[in-house]
Symmetry: C2
Subunit: 64 residues, 2 copies
DNA sequence: TCCTTATGTAAATAAAACTTTACTTTTAGT
DNA sequence: ACTAAAAGTAAAGTTTTATTTACATAAGGA
């Protein structure tokens, strides 16, 4: 499961801490997701996708 | 987090056990998700949505 | 260089997702 | 009514996601 969060953050000029706050998780959680350490929960994926006005499929891709 | 899995299953004539097998989880997991006991992981949500040829947003909705 | 902000990482813990086993209830067919 | 299949449920245990604290590194500006 890959994602484009880092790019979306850059486009919106948000730090990991900014994004973490907006979706109500810890900064380390955002970092871990970006680094591919684990996948977000479905509710968290929804929060992130709504924040960036993208569909979940546009942000996350199941690398088969 | 609500979902329309029960309806989609009916449309595709699949039992909970059938669906569980297709997405490689236990029947109880499908049951629990349908009953709203917990949300699927993001990878599982992807598997289900691809099986039914729907977007994740079409199947799952964050009830506020 | 010094200081600050952002990012990366790690260990311990907590919480949520999922499994396994097993039993009960519902539903539908004959 | 009887039977079989499907659905519901529950407890105990494992795995994965997320938190907290804490420290280390990278990058840039003053």
């Amino acid at each position: 499961m890959k994602n484009t969060i880092k790019v979306l953050r850059a486009e919106h000029d948000l730090t990991q801490a900014d994004l973490a706050e907006k979706v109500a998780v810890s900064r380390q959680t955002i970092n871990a997701i970006e680094k591919g350490k684990f996948d977000p929960s479905l509710p968290l994926a929804f929060k992130i996708s709504r924040l960036f006005n993208k569909s979940i499929e546009e942000i996350f891709t199941a690398e088969e």
